[in-house]
Symmetry: D2
Subunit: 345 residues, 4 copies
Amino acid sequence: MNTFGKNFRVTTFGESHGVALGAIVDGCPAGLPLTVQDIQHDLTRRKPGQSRVSTPRNESDQAEILSGVFEDKTIGTPIAIIVRNKDQKSKDYEEMKNIFRPGHADQTWFNKYKHRDYRGGGRQSGRETLSRVIGGAIAKKLLSHICNTKIIASTVQIGNICAKKFDEKEIEKNIMRCGDPQAAQKMEELVIKTKKEHDSLGGKVEIRIISPPKMCGTPVFGKIEAELAKAMLSIGTTRTFQYGEGIRVASRLGSEQNPIHEGISGGITTGDDIILQVTIKPPPTIAQEQKMNTSNDEQIIYSVKGRHDPVIAPRFVPVAESMAAIVFADALLSPPDRIDQIFRK
Amino acid sequence: MNTFGKNFRVTTFGESHGVALGAIVDGCPAGLPLTVQDIQHDLTRRKPGQSRVSTPRNESDQAEILSGVFEDKTIGTPIAIIVRNKDQKSKDYEEMKNIFRPGHADQTWFNKYKHRDYRGGGRQSGRETLSRVIGGAIAKKLLSHICNTKIIASTVQIGNICAKKFDEKEIEKNIMRCGDPQAAQKMEELVIKTKKEHDSLGGKVEIRIISPPKMCGTPVFGKIEAELAKAMLSIGTTRTFQYGEGIRVASRLGSEQNPIHEGISGGITTGDDIILQVTIKPPPTIAQEQKMNTSNDEQIIYSVKGRHDPVIAPRFVPVAESMAAIVFADALLSPPDRIDQIFRK
Amino acid sequence: MNTFGKNFRVTTFGESHGVALGAIVDGCPAGLPLTVQDIQHDLTRRKPGQSRVSTPRNESDQAEILSGVFEDKTIGTPIAIIVRNKDQKSKDYEEMKNIFRPGHADQTWFNKYKHRDYRGGGRQSGRETLSRVIGGAIAKKLLSHICNTKIIASTVQIGNICAKKFDEKEIEKNIMRCGDPQAAQKMEELVIKTKKEHDSLGGKVEIRIISPPKMCGTPVFGKIEAELAKAMLSIGTTRTFQYGEGIRVASRLGSEQNPIHEGISGGITTGDDIILQVTIKPPPTIAQEQKMNTSNDEQIIYSVKGRHDPVIAPRFVPVAESMAAIVFADALLSPPDRIDQIFRK
Amino acid sequence: MNTFGKNFRVTTFGESHGVALGAIVDGCPAGLPLTVQDIQHDLTRRKPGQSRVSTPRNESDQAEILSGVFEDKTIGTPIAIIVRNKDQKSKDYEEMKNIFRPGHADQTWFNKYKHRDYRGGGRQSGRETLSRVIGGAIAKKLLSHICNTKIIASTVQIGNICAKKFDEKEIEKNIMRCGDPQAAQKMEELVIKTKKEHDSLGGKVEIRIISPPKMCGTPVFGKIEAELAKAMLSIGTTRTFQYGEGIRVASRLGSEQNPIHEGISGGITTGDDIILQVTIKPPPTIAQEQKMNTSNDEQIIYSVKGRHDPVIAPRFVPVAESMAAIVFADALLSPPDRIDQIFRK
């Protein structure tokens, strides 16, 4: 299933070392100002090779709009956008054909599909998130244009280093995309050290939805937090999701919890800000010898070649924002709840 | 949106103090043995009034199968099952018509729909989870029949009391539904004490999927963990979701995390057991005075009447199992991944 | 697949000789006036035993609303409505267990599901259309309430007798439901004669959508005529669908066709009236000996017992209206096309 | 809605005079042999400029596969294929900006979306069917590979000239794509004459599904004929749909109709061949003066410039085949009907 959303539908495609990746956004209403720059901004925040804490794969990730936009505004038809792969070094991966890398989805994909594109993980690769960012950029534009909603993600933990404060203006000033510059400095040092030790680091990312549209989310299965949880867990590396007070509610009394505003009530947005948090695992590709299984059911000791990220949180930030934006764009466009909201009358 | 699932589709309906609640399961294949007892077992585990830690509302919650089953086996047509409400005390709620209870969804439902059934929360009420249990009971039967999969949830935390061990056989022996009998004892004492203080308690529930079917979950948006996260967060009281190593991966190194098996890889099940955990907030209805808003934008001090649960975890257990079961039944029935799996050829 | 529609979703269930049939309507906005009488009116127009041209099966087909309506108005939650079977004479069908009736779906259902409810055709029976009428009655109420749309079907051909004129007021005055009273008279005589000869008759039904909502239908696959065609062909007995000028366009010149208004352009409604026509086959159950296959791959000569309709058009009329109404209700509630139509801003 | 299908999902995009058109096929199982030639064959049958009865617009319509295929076989991931526009003469259309062409969807699109790409009709243009042919070519390959199913469409009527016989081998030998060479000759003469008179012609196309997969179609709303009707009516020019005995059943007796095999029973395929027929209207663009409305609510007399088809049936043939193929591919891949068909057990 490569489509996300019911009303604002994002269909994605593309393999890490194939010809191109992209996304089709269907359901975006007509009249929204949109140019390739709107897309490119977040693609560039996500692209590889942007700093010394990301993979050196050198991709410019230039977007091309194929349809759905006319004279810099959407026309209500599907918006197709592609990015061609440039720096595929497929040879790096030739010898990986029959080896299942630990922590990657090589084995389950092999079991499920048998015939697979093993080059750089094919579609299992985190490179597929490029398409999510395309969809997310359009969703953000819609949310910003219609209701001034902003979606701001940032790194709040790397290894054992946690952000102690949140200053939105600091996020894009450091390569960790952390709202606490002191913590960011320590995180960066830890990443560089870990990279030298041929290892990688997990972390946490927080997503703030500022001024979300009201009355989004539909009971009982379409609760906005359910859609957000699905969106976040659909990103390969995520292990946990929480919103609002999160894990703290386990040890709360009802009389303590009741007065707290969490931005969502009964699955429906109140219009107040919403805070999400996700935990992401360390990138599995590390430049050290590991035990691996092969398609011949053997176990070998092997060190994977290729270009990798020692930490994924900074590049995960625009992806998390994108998925949150897609959920809210989808909810914003949902059918009427009351008969006085029907506009075709 | 009151339907969950793509292939095994559960559509639910019903208000807390209406005529009846129920579920339609569409997509369940023909030939599955099924009787009303299969449904009743879990309905009874979920029903109110079952112990001194649950609401005294007295409902027998008797299921009636209206369609889809013939001679005790499914026939491939929609399975409709209803439960009539018996012990509605609507009068308890008459004066709540214009009062928005804190921690409940009264205000957002009012904003969204204007005209609402305010009696006992109407469809916002946790009573809607009865329908999930109907769907879940059928899903469990399918999973058990086809691949011996078992889904076992239990309470692992209430307030600050955590289970220290897990013994499956203990769960149904204590009214907390906890796999650690010593912890269960302490939890129960805390609940009784808190109830006397007119307050309520949050907690955590763990869901174990034993021998799940292999190759379930579809990249990239239909990852099994994404569907599970959606399922769990769609239950009104949930604040967090995690699977596998969960929050621990934040401070892990890649070399530590890579060899660990979590039952899911790349969004696809390996066939190994899977462990989920969710955090649930304290039930918001408490028998003490609280500040409340009214539909006239006034703020009043008020104490809600009616019958309530001081803790929801023990009754949440069968609901969590049900939602997990529905996700796996849906995945089990998904279309073929490879051309050799097409059975209409 | 027992759900129809994306925004206004009708899920149906029930077997001919089971406990009950019914429908769940999900997505109907809150605030619509609705009582059981709104449903009962069309159920009674569809019910068996209403005239000497319909089956003598004696069902009162009384609807019961289980949820979704409070104080005679919808509340935005699923509307569940059931009708219990009363006059099942299952014994009539016992010997049909292993016989596949010609013109019925017995054999394909057996091949597909193996285990089936053979009593009166089970869910293959035209009795399933009762659920469509429930959904359609709610859809009609919505269309009428919001935009004064009326949907009027009538019989226009039985055997070789065709209606020569259309007077809406005449339709419910004759048991053929034909807008031409002279033709209705001849049709009725033909039906009585054919019934005596133990045979049955096909026909044509026309559906007029008067003042449909504007701008309904979504390019390219959700064209309103595509949804209507699906809706009509989903009724078991239908063989053809046409709209507007229909078959006449085959021999038209562009210069002749261009100025004609058909109510739909580019898959989108103009607001002008729309005329559909469908052809329906003769009911397959006839009280004479026919060749039949058995589940043992034998061929026998057999005469089916039970109670049957010599012609289906008059009872098809409310079913066709219902399916058209559901399509338009669904389209009416579709998400916004332009950013100025977004109401959650 | 630009996606068709539930299991085999074809998402299309592109405007007539935009950068490119294309399709994403999601859900095609892994292991199907597929090359660009498989796509190109039908694209070339559909492309403009192929004969003197089609528009002179000169497009090579070269397909490029962007993803989903590795070493000439599908890998279970979305197959993205694009075709770049080459011969857009946008200037031809500049003056059409505020003019609504009769018989085209200009006015309803303007009403619905306000901001539209008016060049060559934008996405209303029949050029969107190019994307359907991409999806259809993959569907045909799947059907042929798995169950030897062939889908053969042909022109059976143009104006008043009807094919009298059907010889499959003749179809591609004449530019009318008619199975009766004598009729084809007369059709061609009529088209040339009509073109000289600056007019256009309607017609009928027949689609034969040879050896369809068995047990396709799902009661009650997913009947195979319902999906086929939707598919055919979703093509802009179609006015009628019929299958099997079609319109003839109106005047049949039950005893006559019952023994006839139509390839579908109860919405489910029997495995026997199926014959569909659709009526298509004359292409609305004709090189003569016509009354037209403008966006200023004026009426003018105007003659449209640009390049057009005097008859669309020959180019409609591969489009009709494609839509039928997509329906059957989708049905072929539907979830299991019986528990013994579950392959993940």
